[in-house]
């Protein structure tokens, strides 16, 4: 099993200087000061009273969640409660308009001020609930472009195709994907489960600081679920944070959450420890609509 770890020799954020509330483009690499180490327990993502709407329909109505390095948070909740919306707003999907609240990333960076590709380059990753098929673009080319973008942002040299092939082979076997998938077009004709594995492969390759997995367990067979969970556990360490959106306790048997949140009608209505998920498994969401 490949052990995924953060690449050595890099760290982030201003030393001795508060992060400005607005970044101006282009931002110099200089802000990544060397030798500043992040630690377990530092706040990685802080979502405060986040509100968002689509075409004037309010969907997120004041979401609060704080993720520290080394933590796994599970978000559960009925269909349509806003879980995917939250995850897409965090990665900058243009369909959603943020109408209130704030999101800070790492040491006070304004996440909402970054373009979607900058968020990705800076280590925010979303495994999509419905990954998009892109015909004409080979998975290998796509993955290499994405990885090199991330490496570029970290000040590391880009992989050439041959180097990348080696890295890719190792990561693919770690998520149980056959090498046949590298020459196929991105997600094109992939089964539901294959698409989810491809998302986890991307997570393993991109080594994000914050990984949001939106129902990555849905559509996976039992063996695939174990493989994917093993991939996530291999990625998990003291310095990164994971947000798991799921409907089932099943996934949480393999990836132990530190916190469980329940989302309903655009808000986090309850938060607790792992026992909350077990409670839900037993009683469902009845408590949300008391008679």
């Amino acid at each position: 099993m490949a052990v995924v770890s953060l690449l050595p020799g890099w760290a982030m954020v201003f030393v001795g200087q508060p992060a400005p509330s607005h970044w101006t483009l282009p931002r110099p690499h200089a802000r990544f000061a060397a030798n500043v180490h992040m630690a377990t327990g530092d706040v990685l993502l802080n979502v405060k009273n986040l509100q968002a709407s689509v075409d004037d329909n309010s969907i997120l109505k004041g979401v609060n969640i704080c993720v520290r390095r080394g933590e796994v948070h599970a978000i559960m909740g009925p269909n349509g409660s806003g879980k995917s919306t939250l995850s897409k707003v965090l990665v900058g999907h243009p369909a959603y308009e943020v109408t209130g609240g704030e999101v800070t990333y790492r040491e006070g960076e304004d996440l909402l001020d970054l373009a979607p590709e900058e968020r990705a380059q800076q280590g925010v990753f979303l495994a999509f609930q419905y990954p998009v098929e892109i015909s004409g673009v080979s998975n290998a080319d796509f993955l290499r472009l994405a990885v090199n973008k991330r490496r570029g942002a970290l000040g590391e040299s880009e992989y050439d195709p041959i180097e990348f092939f080696g890295v890719l082979g190792e990561k693919m076997s770690s998520v149980g994907m056959s090498m046949d998938f590298i020459n196929r077009d991105v997600n094109s004709g992939f089964s539901g489960g294959e698409k989810k594995r491809n998302e986890i492969l991307q997570m393993a390759l991109l080594e994000p600081e914050l990984a949001i997995l939106d129902e990555t367990d849905s559509g996976l067979d039992i063996d695939a679920l174990k493989t994917v969970a093993a991939g996530v556990n291999a990625y998990k360490n003291d310095e990164n944070g994971i947000v798991l959106i799921t409907h089932y306790q099943r996934l949480l048997d393999y990836i132990k959450p530190d916190f469980v949140h329940i989302m309903s009608k655009g808000q986090i209505v309850r938060s607790g420890g792992p026992e909350l998920a077990l409670e839900l498994e037993k009683d469902g969401y009845k408590f949300l609509n008391p008679v």
Binding site: V91, G92, H93, P94, A95, A115, P116, E117, R119, A120, Q121, L126, F128, P131, V132, I134, S135, G136, V137, D141, F142, L145, A146, K149, R150, A153, D185, Q202, L206
Partner: protein, 497 residues
């Protein structure tokens, strides 16, 4: 403002009709494309057009003496023909005034070594090169072709093959075609034949399969004294049961020569049970005018498959007329138009189910950016009696900027019940969810658009047997990615609200 013109069916209005008087020597019927006998009465002969007279004055001498009669026959037709106008249905969306304002001249004939460089290796042993319409023995290399396959200048053919081709030249396509539905090939075809320097011929004897793709390079050069004009003419005959992959490619003979006029004519006859894969690459210089009419006769149980790509030229017009003339004939006609800057890329196609029991499928892809314009007018005709027909047509257009324009007119004319036909047309920009997915993996919006466009072109090009050509199309497609300044401003205004 998006200026999109999506016509559900062809507008059938027409302004006037002119008829083409027949030349004494040859037969001049509209064999390939007339829908019905022309109802037009004989009009008085219009006055001779000064542009045609001037064009004829600058035509090259024939390289092959036996072409003199064909040239003069066509020239006499031209003396009485009028140039295409916007009033003609076939030319309504194609403004040729810049061409008619130019003084045609003899092209220089200069060829830069770089012109064929990228395809030198892939075409080794199966390469026919024409420079300004005349076969260049020096650049041609046909050493790998099997015995019995005839490829070259009509002047190098044996008596039988040469007679076959000369006979085909006697018929100018669309001589008597219905003005409302014709492709608009006749006048430029007559100009082509009146100006023939040479005729390139390909003949496959029965049951011969050529495994290696055959490349035909049509190089055009410019002129310092006017618009260099050349008139390449290609005749392809596949005999019963034979099969070929043909790459027909048009480009500048040297990069510095971007302005010229290529006026081509291509005839393809596919005998029973034969099969042609036809890659057509129009990659002319960006100042060039390119007009070509490709007529294909697909006989019993024969199959025609084409990938026709138009990426070059300032103004290009490709007419494609496919007739399924024998039972079991089938075709798959695929077109790709990529327009940037101020290019006009025009495809007019016509697929005629002249026989029952035939199948056609057509897919047109257009991508247009900047201030460019694409025109697609595609007719599929199933006349009475053409029972048991399957015909599918699809036209997909990517309109990539607010100042680009697409004029799309797909039509299906069905006069029989026993058919399975579908057709559709879509016009859209690139898919936002795809762009976002790529952005969410760290690619900028422009990079995401480039990658999607490259992929879009590459899937189309997958059957074209030249990696260099596939790459060039992908590169051209990626150049269409930038959004116009105007659009960016508008998006910015939206997000700041």
């Amino acid at each position: 403002m998006l200026r999109t013109c999506l016509l559900g069916s062809l507008a059938l209005a027409h302004a006037f009709s002119f008829s083409s008087p027949r030349c004494g020597g040859g037969r001049h019927e509209s064999v390939l494309l007339s829908l019905a006998p022309s109802p037009a009465p004989l009009a008085p002969t219009p006055p001779s057009d000064p542009w045609f007279s001037a064009s004829l004055a600058s035509r090259p001498p024939p390289r092959v003496a036996s072409l003199a009669a064909a040239r003069e026959g066509a020239a006499s037709l031209l003396a009485a023909a009028a140039r295409p106008r916007r009033k003609d249905e076939a030319w309504r969306r194609t403004d040729l005034s810049a061409l008619f304002a130019a003084q045609l001249a003899l092209p220089s004939g200069e060829v830069a070594a770089a012109a064929l460089e990228e395809e030198m290796e892939v075409s080794a042993g199966a390469r026919l090169v024409l420079v300004d319409g005349a076969v260049s023995e020096e650049l041609t290399d046909l050493s790998a072709l099997p015995e019995g396959v005839l490829v070259g200048s009509v002047g190098s053919m044996d008596a039988v093959a040469s007679a076959r081709v000369m006979k085909q030249l006697e018929t100018i396509p669309e001589a008597d075609a219905d003005k409302r539905t014709e492709l608009g090939a006749y006048t430029f075809a007559a100009l082509n034949q009146a100006s023939l320097a040479d005729v390139a011929c390909i003949y496959l004897p029965p049951d011969v399969e050529v495994s290696q793709p055959l490349f035909v390079f049509m190089l055009s050069s410019g002129s310092t004294s006017g618009l260099g004009a050349s008139h390449p003419n290609l005749v392809v005959n596949l005999d019963r049961g034979s099969s070929l992959s043909l790459v027909q490619s048009y480009s500048a003979s040297k990069a510095a020569d971007s302005d010229y006029f290529t006026n081509a004519l291509t005839r393809v006859t596919l005998g029973p049970d034969s099969r042609l894969r036809h890659s057509y690459l129009q990659e002319q210089g960006l100042g060039a005018f390119h007009i070509d009419s490709v007529f294909v006769d697909v006989q019993e149980s024969a199959r025609y498959e084409s990938q026709m790509v138009s990426t070059g030229a300032r103004i290009s017009r490709l007419n494609v007329g496919v007739s399924l003339t024998g039972s079991g004939a089938s075709c798959q006609v695929q077109g790709l138009a990529l327009g940037a800057e101020t290019q006009l890329v025009d495809f007019h196609t016509f697929i005629r189910h002249a026989s029952p029991d035939c199948q056609s499928s057509q897919e047109q892809r257009n991508a247009v950016a900047d201030r460019a314009r694409v025109v697609f007018r595609g007719a599929v005709v199933v006349p009475r009696g053409a029972d048991n027909t399957t015909a599918n047509q699809l036209c997909r257009t990517l309109l990539l900027s607010d100042t680009s324009r697409a004029d799309i007119a797909p039509t299906l004319e069905i006069a029989t019940d026993d058919v399975k036909c579908t057709h559709g047309a879509t016009i859209a920009d690139l898919d936002d969810e795809m762009i976002f997915y790529l952005q969410a993996r760290g690619l900028g919006r422009l990079e995401a658009r480039s990658l999607l466009l490259e992929g879009w072109a590459r899937t189309f090009m997958s059957q074209v047997p030249s990696e260099a050509a596939r790459r060039r199309a992908a590169v051209k497609a990626s150049l269409l990615a930038p959004e116009t300044g105007e659009r960016v401003v508008r998006l910015q205004q939206l997000t700041s609200i």
